[in-house]
């Protein structure tokens, strides 16, 4: 991945590649957090379909319960009779050459929403100038939430979709130059 952005000499170069891919798929809001020897980039919480595809704006960026986007009789009858849970996703890219493991703590949807406002608006120059090492890895952490009737939003663990499917359906896989 990211071959078309080569050569990646610094973490700033990789950040540029990430931004390019994110913006080409509609992710214009982001937030940066410093991590050991790298950075984490959190995207805006977005509403998705059950298959992982991003919904069309404005529903995409709304945390409200889903409603009929385009009225059709079949969609209406389905919404009238069956449950229509909302699915939400936050993608966090962690760029570092330090191996890490997830803590096991399960973030809430409220917390995930606040990631966008809690970080830095740009990648600090001190991190951007860090040389890109052969051990640097860009890991996509994907948090999927669901909000069904009578329940608070909850982290879907495990998600019915794997990370690759999420990246493909969001368009990011293609935008980053991943192999089909």
């Amino acid at each position: 991945m990211f071959e078309k952005h080569a050569p990646l000499k610094t973490l700033g170069n990789l950040n540029d590649a990430l931004i390019s891919g994110l913006e080409s798929t509609g992710y214009f809001d982001r937030s940066y957090y410093p991590v050991p020897d790298g950075f984490a980039l959190a995207t805006h919480l977005e509403q998705i379909s059950a298959d992982g595809a991003s919904k069309a704006p404005p529903a995409r960026w709304s945390a409200e319960a889903p409603r009929l986007e385009h009225f059709s009789l079949s969609d209406y009858v389905r919404a009238l009779l069956t449950a229509d849970p909302g699915y939400y996703r936050v993608v966090v890219f962690v760029v570092t050459d330090v191996p890490f493991a997830q803590s096991g703590a399960e973030p809430t949807m409220d917390q995930a929403q606040k990631w966008l406002g809690g970080g830095l608006n740009v990648l600090p120059a001190s991190i951007a100038s860090t040389p890109f090492s052969p051990n640097t890895v860009c890991t996509a952490l994907i948090y999927e939430f669901t909000q069904s009737e009578s329940r608070h939003p909850a982290l879907l663990l495990p998600s019915p979709l794997d990370a690759h499917t999420h990246l493909v359906k969001s368009g990011l896989w293609n935008a980053f130059g991943g192999n089909p």
Partner: protein
Amino acid sequence: MKLPLKQCQQWLGVLWLTGSAALFALVFLQSTLGHFGDNASAAWSWLLPTILPTASLIVTALFKTSDAESKTVDRFLFRLAFLLSLFYLGTVVMVLLLQPLTATAPTDALTHSSVYLGPFQGLVASSFGAFFGQTEARSNE
């Protein structure tokens, strides 16, 4: 102007039984297909007090009023009771039918509707009271 009591009762009975059956069927389908999630009981707790008291009153009157064939009722009072019933049942149906078009959760929509359905149901019951009370008064004349 007077109308036959029996005929008026039958019209009201058909209206309420048809409306109640439609509402019951809709909520049955919704709760069976998971529209209310784990909160199906909340939907039934909303529906039953919304329609059963008045529907029961109508059915009871339909079968228990003696000499209904020989009695008459004021046309205005019948029309008032019928139109209020029609509007009330229509409102209850619309609460269910409009919910998918809003961002409100299904059980929240039902809860919110109780604010105006409660007084409205009282108004319908009052019109029934006037309807049946006037009938008895006429039959004594």
